[in-house]
């Protein structure tokens, strides 16, 4: 279900990663994740400049029924965060792969994202949930 851009990479924990050419990657949660969580009411974003290892907790998305940790899919330093979510967390529900992005990482290595799931592999992960 839902769209899954082919040029993005994915994690088992439902984050998507869109690498850019300047060595950064934009990160958000998938359409499957946002629809499972329901209406988001709050997004807690990290501070720009903080570094994270892959798998470390970076952010929190909170819906009316659960608060869920968002993990760093790959290691890197926070380059920017989507501040519009502070006032409009519903953007994540409305446009999870676009306007609802969460933060951008300056990647420690450009190859890091290659080990993540591709769209087809993630489809199997998401389908297994349903």
């Amino acid at each position: 279900m839902g769209e899954r851009p082919d040029n993005y990479r994915y994690t088992q924990s439902h984050e998507w990663v869109a690498p850019a050419e300047d060595g950064t990657a934009r990160i958000g949660i998938t359409d499957h994740a946002q629809s499972s969580l329901g209406d988001l009411v709050f997004v807690e974003l990290p501070e720009v400049g903080t570094s994270f290892n892959a798998g470390e907790q970076v952010a929190v998305v909170e819906s009316v029924k659960a608060a869920s940790d968002i993990y760093a899919p790959v290691a890197g330093e926070i380059a920017s965060v989507n501040e519009t979510l502070e006032d409009a967390p519903e953007q994540v529900n409305e446009d999870p792969f676009g306007e609802g992005w969460l933060f951008e990482l300056k990647l420690e290595s450009e190859e890091a994202t290659e080990s993540l799931l591709d769209a087809a592999a993630y489809k199997e992960v998401a389908d297994a949930d349903d």
């Binding site: 709050f42 909170e62 029924k65 659960a66 608060a67």
Partner: protein, 465 residues
């Protein structure tokens, strides 16, 4: 289902089903050192009649006598209506609400309580409720550690003038979570937190500063200066307050030159709960809106339903088990919910003027008592700073002996604080609330004069243990 959940035969049957000989075998993967809790100080069981008798005997010991003990628990007049209403079946049997919209009456009480506490403290958001003031302080420390993202040190500056039991509880709950407490001493003359001890931490990574008002000695701290120090050093300020005192002294939401403290906590007992030998009490905890998501507990909101009728609903509960799962920090308890109901009814009956009256009379009575007691030879005030309704006095004799002697003559004369502070030998704190008459104050002064004159404690009271 039978009242007794399982008989010996049931237990044998169940153990047989899982293939073990006895209960201990079930837990054999747990290190025996962790299992061995020594309960030898707990007496063996007694029958109902023996327990009832014991309780009556103990209650009788509390019943007569004039109480001048404060130290965190205060005897105030509780109008009869408070517990008459609180113990109505509708409140008494209601489980603390988790379903967002269920139990409208209970939710409305919580809503009213939260509104009143925010009004009293000058804070934005209040929960309802924690176990007691001490555990509320521990929760506030954990909130500060989660919420102050500029700080990495997990370092809390804790004045020694904070109630010793609060410090102990906060340390017990937090210390094993990598949080360090640094003690800030107090000025010998004033009894206030020592500003120069605080200044030693200037420029260091400090997560939060605890600001007691009034402090354990009853002394009014310079809460503005402590709050400003915290904020100027990138730390949170956590206020520890007495809710009754807030009717007279400036509320934590106004402290300092900025927006007041970040988190305020306190013991709710003075708002309608009887002393009851130490509990149950309840903790007050409130904060600024920006920290609401770090707050344990739930916030009730008011809305309208599809037909335009007023409805109450749980609006924010981000630290509760069903929202935050393994990272929940909830310490909410149904029993404390009932005490919140009592506090809400108590505050409604008193109103702001009534509460102010209680506070003013308590402060005035304590002043009168202190004036009387300090005319006795050798009895002197320990600290010069202004106090609210409690005051530290040094006695010319052993404080415990004097208090025991007073108790044997029907006067619970105060709390000996020597055990907590090396520098304060033979110091007691005394408290007189609005419940004391001039004759009561006179009775205390006369009896203490007699105890001091006669010196020797004729009938040393035997300890209850």
């Amino acid at each position: 289902m039978a009242f007794i959940p399982h008989t010996e035969a049931d237990i044998r049957h169940m153990l047989g089903a899982v293939g073990v000989e006895n209960i201990d075998d079930l837990f054999d993967e747990i290190d025996p050192r962790l299992r061995g809790v020594d309960l030898s100080s707990v007496p063996t069981h007694a029958d109902e009649r023996a327990i009832t008798r014991e309780m009556h005997e103990r209650a009788a010991r509390d019943a007569d006598g004039l109480c001048f003990v404060g130290a965190g628990a205060y005897e105030h007049h509780v109008p009869a209506a408070v517990w008459e209403l609180t113990t109505r079946g509708e409140f008494y049997s209601a489980y603390t609400p988790y379903q967002p919209e269920a139990s409208q009456g209970t939710l409305q009480v919580t809503y009213e309580y939260q509104t009143m506490i925010c009004g009293l403290t000058g804070m934005d958001v209040s929960n309802a409720s924690l176990y007691d003031g001490a555990s509320a302080l521990a929760e506030a420390v954990l909130m500060a550690v989660r919420g102050n993202r500029k700080s990495r040190a997990n370092r809390i500056l804790m004045p020694a003038s904070v109630h010793p039991f609060y410090r102990q509880v906060a340390t017990n709950i937090c210390a094993n979570q990598g949080i360090q407490f640094e003690t800030i001493g107090f000025e010998a003359a004033s009894g206030r937190a020592d500003q120069s001890a605080l200044d030693q931490w200037t420029g260091e990574d400090v997560t939060a500063v605890v600001v007691p008002q009034p402090n354990f000695f009853g002394v009014l701290e310079d809460a503005d200066a402590l709050t400003d120090w915290a904020h100027n050093n990138g730390a949170f300020a956590i206020g520890v307050v007495n809710p009754v005192a807030l009717a007279l002294v400036s509320p934590p939401g106004d402290w300092g030159s900025g927006d007041g403290v970040d988190i305020a906590v306190g013991e709710g007992q003075p708002l309608g709960a009887p002393l009851s030998g130490g509990g149950p009490y309840f903790g007050i905890l409130c904060c600024r809106t920006k920290h609401a998501r770090q707050m344990p507990g739930r916030v009730v909101g008011k809305t309208v339903d599809a037909e335009g009728e007023t409805g109450y609903v749980l609006t924010l509960q981000p630290r509760e088990q069903h929202i935050r799962r393994s990272k929940a920090t909830s310490n909410i308890c149904t029993n404390q919910g009932l005490l919140v109901t009592a506090a809400t009814i108590h505050m409604s009956l008193l109103g702001p003027d009534g509460l102010q009256n209680v506070a003013a009379h308590s402060a005035a009575n304590t002043r009168k008592l202190v004036d009387k007691l300090t005319t006795l030879r050798g009895v002197e005030r320990v600290f010069e700073a202004p106090f609210f309704h409690e005051c530290a006095l040094r006695l010319p004799v052993d404080s415990k002996t004097a208090l025991d002697e007073l108790a044997s003559r029907g006067i619970f004369g105060g709390y000996a604080i020597d055990a907590h502070y090396d520098a304060l030998s033979n110091v007691i704190i005394v408290c007189a609330t609005e419940t004391k008459t001039n004759a009561d104050l006179e009775a205390y002064a006369t009896t203490l004069a007699d105890v001091l004159d006669n010196g020797k404690p004729a009938r040393r009271r035997v300890s209850a243990a």
